[in-house]
Symmetry: C2
Subunit: 336 residues, 2 copies
Amino acid sequence: AEGRVDLSHGAGGRAMRQLIEGIFHEAFDNEWLRAGNDQSAFAVSGGRMVMSTDGYVVSPLFFPGGNIGSLAVHGTINDIAMAAARPLYLSASFIIEEGFPLADLKRIADSMGVASREAAVPIITGDTKVVERGKADGVFISTAGVGRVLDGLDLRADAARPRDAVILSGSIGDHGVAVMSNRENLQFDAAIVSDSAPLHTLVAMMAEAGGRHIRLMRDPTRGGLAATLNEVASQSKVGFHIDEEAIPIKPEVAAVCELLGLDPLNVANEGKLVAVAAPEGAEAILAAMRAHPLGREAALIGHVVADDYCFVQMATSFGGRRVVDWLTGEQLPRIC
Amino acid sequence: AEGRVDLSHGAGGRAMRQLIEGIFHEAFDNEWLRAGNDQSAFAVSGGRMVMSTDGYVVSPLFFPGGNIGSLAVHGTINDIAMAAARPLYLSASFIIEEGFPLADLKRIADSMGVASREAAVPIITGDTKVVERGKADGVFISTAGVGRVLDGLDLRADAARPRDAVILSGSIGDHGVAVMSNRENLQFDAAIVSDSAPLHTLVAMMAEAGGRHIRLMRDPTRGGLAATLNEVASQSKVGFHIDEEAIPIKPEVAAVCELLGLDPLNVANEGKLVAVAAPEGAEAILAAMRAHPLGREAALIGHVVADDYCFVQMATSFGGRRVVDWLTGEQLPRIC
Ligand SMILES: Nc1ncnc2c1ncn2[C@@H]1O[C@H](COP(=O)(O)OP(=O)(O)OP(=O)(O)O)[C@@H](O)[C@H]1O
Ligand SMILES: Nc1ncnc2c1ncn2[C@@H]1O[C@H](COP(=O)(O)OP(=O)(O)OP(=O)(O)O)[C@@H](O)[C@H]1O
Ligand SMILES: [Mg+2]
Ligand SMILES: [Mg+2]
Ligand SMILES: [Mg+2]
Ligand SMILES: [Mg+2]
Ligand SMILES: [Mg+2]
Ligand SMILES: [Mg+2]
C-alpha cells in the first residue's frame, strides 16, 4: 500500500469500500467480513455470554513487542478471558487521521489479522472513520468482543474472601516500560519488550485445573497491579497482604523504572493476569499456569485479609511494610 | 459537572474511577455496570446472534435533533436491527481530548442513557481513554452491539432478486443536512432536525407482517441512499430502477441541498431503512411500516432489475432517466 488516507476514505463512497476491502478485509480474512453485511451473524448455544470493549490510543503506534493493532486484539480478548470465558468474536472500529500512511495502516491491520488468527478469535465486523489532519493522532482503534463463559464458572468482583490466595501470572511492568522507553528514545543493552499476549488459553488451563476455586481474575493494565488490587479490595470489601519479594520483575524493567521515577506496581501490563483463588485450589492452579508458556513464572504473591479500610499492604524487600495506593495523577498517558 | 477532563481521567487511577462512576455509570445506570467487572455477562438462549460496531466522530458534537451520544446509541442499534435482529446489549468506548468540558461529557452521556433506556438496550460495558489537547477533537465514541436474530429470518446481502420491491421508510437527507447547516451556521425558517432514531421496533413490526418476504435491509447512512443501493446492487449482482417522485424528501431539506450543492441521494440518514422484499410481501410490509411512527411515510420507491452492470437507475421528476452513482470524493466529512 502506497499513499495516504484522505477524507474520501471515510465518506461512504467507493474509496472507502476499496480501503476496507483492500486493507482490512484482506488482513482479517474471514467468511463473516466477506458476507458484507452491516453486522455479522453467528450461532450460539444457550448459556452465559460476556461482552467487553477497550479503546486504544497508544503512542507511539509501534513499540517493541507489538503495535496498536496487536494490542487492540490482545487487550479485548483478555478482558473477555478474565470472566473465565472463551473469547469468540471481535469487532474493530478505526478512527484515522487524514494523511496517515496507508503502509502503516496496512502493517497495523496485518498485525491484527495475525493476532486474531493466532488466538483463533476472528474480527467479524468493523467500521472506518477519517477525521481531518490534526483532529486525531494517527489512528485510534476500539475493539469489542463477545465470549462464552466456561461451564459452571461465575466470577464476581465482590467474591474475594480473607485467606484467599493472590496469584500473578508473571513479571510486571514490561508493557508500560517498553512503550515509555520507546517514547523517550531510551537505548538499553537489553531490549525491553511488551508482554502483550492473549491470555485465554492460559485461563482455560487454569479453569480446568481448579476452576471452581477461582474467585475472580483481572488483567492489571492501566494503573498496574496496584490499581487492580485496590479496585478488587474495595469491590470485595477486603484488604490484601502482598510480598514484594514474590512479585516477578525483570532486572532491566526495574532499572528503567528507577531511571524514569516509576513504581513498577503502577505500570501497565498487557499479558498478565491476577487471580484470587480459594486457598485449597491455589497449588493446582499455579501448577497448571506454570505449564503454560504465558504462566511459567506464575507466583503466589500474597493473600486476602479482612480489612474494613480495604488497604493493600506490601511487605517490602527491606523487611518493612507499606500501603500500596492507586496511582495519583497522570503518570503514564497513552500507554495502551 | 464542572471543570474539564484531564489526563489523569484516563490513567487508571482514582480520578478515572470517579469520572466513570460519576458521569457514565450514573447516566447509563444498570446492574451490569454496577457489577464492576472488566466485562459484562448476560444469558442467551441458543440461536443466531449478530454483532456490529460503528465509530462516531460527528462535528459539531451537538446538532438539531441529537448529539454524538444519542447518535452512537441509535446507529449501532440500527445496524443490529438491519439483520432482522433484536438488539440486546451495547458497549461504549470513549476517546476524549484533554480539556473537554465535563459538563458537555455529562450531557452526551445523559443522552446516551436516555436513548438506551428508550430503546430498552442497555450499555453494559465501556472504556475511557484521554489523549492530550490537540490529539483528538472533543470526544469520539465507538459503540458495539449484540443482538439476536428474529426466529426464522436470515437476511443476506446477495439475496435481492429481479422484481423485488424496494421500500424506503421515510424522507431522505434530514440527518446530513441538519449537521451540515449547523456546521455552516446556516439559519432557516424551518429548523431542520436530524432523523436519528432507533429502528428496531419498526423492524419488529415489519418482520411480523411479512418477515419471510424480506430479502435484506440497510440503513442508508454515509453515502446516503445512492451508496446503499449501489452496494446492494453489486453484492446481489442486480440493478435497481427507482423513481425520484416516489422518494420522500422534505422541501426545506431539498432547498438546503440545492444551496450547498448536495445531491440528497448522497446525504446520510440516521433513522431510515431500505428494505428489499419479495413483490408478494411488499404491500403487507408497507402497511405495517405506515402504522409505526418511524414509518409513516414509508414508500415503494422502485424495484430490482436484472443488470449485469449492476446499475442503479432513476426515473427523474422531469421524465428522464439517470444513473445514480456512488458519491465520489469527500463531499461530507464527519457527518456521523
Ligand atoms: N476497519 C474495518 N475492518 C473490517 N471491516 C470493516 C471495517 N470498516 C468497515 N468494515 C465492514 O465494511 C462493511 C461496511 O461498513 P460501513 O461502516 O460502511 O457500514 P455501516 O456501519 O452500515 O455504515 P455507517 O458506518 O455509515 O453507519 C461492514 O460489513 C463492516 O463490518
Ligand atoms: N465510558 C464508560 N462507560 C461505562 N462504563 C465504563 C466506561 N469506561 C469504563 N467503564 C467500566 O469501568 C470498568 C473499568 O474499566 P477499565 O477500562 O478500567 O477496565 P479494563 O478494560 O479492564 O482496563 P483497561 O482499559 O486499562 O484495559 C469496567 O467495568 C468498564 O466496563
Ligand atoms: Mg482492558
Ligand atoms: Mg459502520
Ligand atoms: Mg481488564
Ligand atoms: Mg452503521
Ligand atoms: Mg478498559
Ligand atoms: Mg448500516
